[in-house]
């Protein structure tokens, strides 16, 4: 067999758990196990709360089904698992846990924020230096680590309740939530956004002026100033444009 044919057969047999082994079954099983365990271990590290919510065995089964279907596309494993939240959403045995894919999405955002590029966050005082007539036309460059994420479940509260050891408290209110994930310096921080905060922040992130982003908030009786200061204090903004 040519080199290409040998390695192609080996790779195909590794990728498909139902394919016959390439070579001695007992020895080939070591490689099959190494590949699956290595990839699953990566997901365990990236999704610790998701794992805690369902237990080790269930998580291993779910992660195993994912790694059988989706291999990393590059050797840079710190991005592997970006497709896992969507996989969890479609994973039938977890269908009764609607918060599970939301928590997984939050953990994925956390991991991406952790590895995102460095940038100085905008100092809170910067806003005070802007002339009031210019405020409405301001646009903002978001910090490279900042991620906004919206849930149909109280996933941010669930996630927060699982950050310490011991019995986690149930969320006070079972309602949709939104979160800001930011890493202004070394540490990743997750904050629940107040009512209307997601739409406001997402509009700013996507290039709206402050006036454009604030209009729906004002119409609903909200205070865009408080929202904006909150975003800047959380380190979500890198610069005024």
């Amino acid at each position: 067999m040519s080199f290409e044919a040998t390695i192609s057969a080996f790779a195909r047999a590794l990728a498909d758990p139902h394919a016959p082994p390439a070579g001695d079954a007992r020895r080939f099983a070591v490689y099959r196990n190494n590949v699956a365990v290595g990839l699953i271990r990566n997901l365990e590290a990236r999704f610790p709360v998701t794992r805690r919510l369902v237990g080790d065995d269930f998580f291993r089964g779910m992660a195993g089904a994912f790694v059988a279907r989706e291999k990393p596309r590059t050797p840079v494993m710190i991005h592997y698992g970006a497709g896992f939240p969507a996989f969890v959403r479609g994973f039938t045995p977890a269908a009764e846990l609607p918060y599970l894919p939301d928590v997984a999405a939050l953990e994925d955002a956390w991991a991406e924020a952790y590895h995102a590029a460095e940038a100085e966050p905008l100092p809170a005082a910067a806003l005070a230096e802007v002339a009031s007539e210019r405020l409405e036309g301001l646009r903002f460059a978001f910090h490279p680590a900042a991620r906004l994420i919206e849930f149909a479940t109280p996933a941010a509260s669930l996630w927060a309740a699982h950050q310490s050891e011991g019995e986690p408290a149930a969320p006070e209110l079972w309602a949709p939530e939104a979160a800001l994930v930011a890493r202004p310096q070394a540490d990743v921080q997750v904050r629940r956004l107040p009512e209307g905060g997601f739409a406001f922040a997402a509009a700013l992130r996507d290039g709206a002026t402050l006036g454009e982003a604030a209009a729906p908030l004002i119409a609903a009786g909200g205070d865009p100033g408080a929202h904006l200061v909150g975003l800047i204090q959380a380190g979500a903004v890198a610069a005024l444009l």
Binding site: T6, L14, K71, T74, V76, I78, A145, A186
Partner: protein, 276 residues
């Protein structure tokens, strides 16, 4: 602050684990260098780079790649070569090493060091890949593998294969003594005879680790336990022949606390002191 020189001293070092960062900074750590897996530092920023930058201000560094797939038939990933080159420029490691193994193919990246047949065809492909890597990233060391199966079509003994790679490409070798012991068990050969035929003159770094005993008598290169006594004695026999080399304790799974890990490194230094 000025960085310590890039060159690794002929002493023991350890694989850097973030959980040891505080203990290391509280130092002196008592080790000669740290080694990191290159792929763990290929994010844009964040705590990994902050820690590695701080570590590099205090210690020499060895950059160890685990994902280049030098031993596969497919062309090397150019973007990955560029990522490696960027890390090398940024952190100025004293050594850069990769494996005689493959890890990527059509199905994607398999996150394991996989075996290849040793033939004149694969020798040519591997040498081309090493030439390309050394052009893009700089001079490298190639590590001898630990494998669980062999291929019927293999026609060149592994030590001869490695010697020929050194001759053709000018790369150096990273001798993983634990891999020798793992392979000796898995393929039923004498580790002493393997080392007798190994191109020891080309060895510029040594790896030591613990292996696991699997069912069916296979030895697994698990990096999850102390170095075995047999591996220590093979190590002593190697450095008695070639002198002390930068020697890494690889302990990547079930990572122990810092005192345990640094004590294992101290054992390697003591072994070298005993031999000379």
């Amino acid at each position: 602050m000025s960085r310590p020189p890039a060159a690794l001293p002929p002493r023991a070092g350890v694989g850097f684990k973030p959980e040891h960062f505080e203990a290391i900074l509280a130092g002196p750590a008592g080790v000669g260098f740290f080694e990191v897996h290159a792929e763990n530092y290929m994010g844009a920023g964040g705590p990994p780079h902050r820690r590695l930058g701080a570590l590099r201000e205090l210690y020499p560094l060895s950059l160890h790649g685990v994902g280049l797939s030098i031993g596969g038939p497919r062309p090397l990933d150019r973007e990955h070569l560029q990522r490696l080159a960027a890390l090398r420029r940024r952190y100025e490691p004293g050594l850069f090493s990769e494996h005689l193994a493959w890890s990527s193919h059509d199905v994607g990246y398999l996150s394991d060091l996989l075996p290849l047949p040793l033939t004149s065809e694969t020798l040519r492909v591997v040498c081309d890949h090493i030439d390309e890597t050394q052009c893009a990233v700089g001079r490298m060391l190639l590590e001898n593998p630990s494998t669980y199966l062999s291929f019927d079509e293999s026609e060149i003994p592994e030590t001869e294969f490695l010697a020929e790679i050194v001759r053709r490409t000018g790369c150096g070798l990273l001798l993983d003594v634990n891999n020798v012991e793992v392979q000796a068990g898995n393929h039923g050969f004498s580790p002493e005879a393997y080392l007798d035929s190994f191109p020891l003159r080309a060895v510029e770094e040594i790896h030591l680790a613990g292996y696991a005993d699997a069912e069916a008598g296979l030895r697994i290169d698990a990096h999850d336990s102390p170095v075995r006594p047999r591996v220590w004695s093979l190590y002593a026999s190697v450095i008695a022949r070639i002198g002390a080399r930068p020697t890494l304790i690889e302990w990547d799974n079930d990572v122990p606390d810092w005192p345990t890990l640094s004590a294992e490194a101290a054992k390697a230094d003591a072994e070298a002191a005993r031999v000379f």
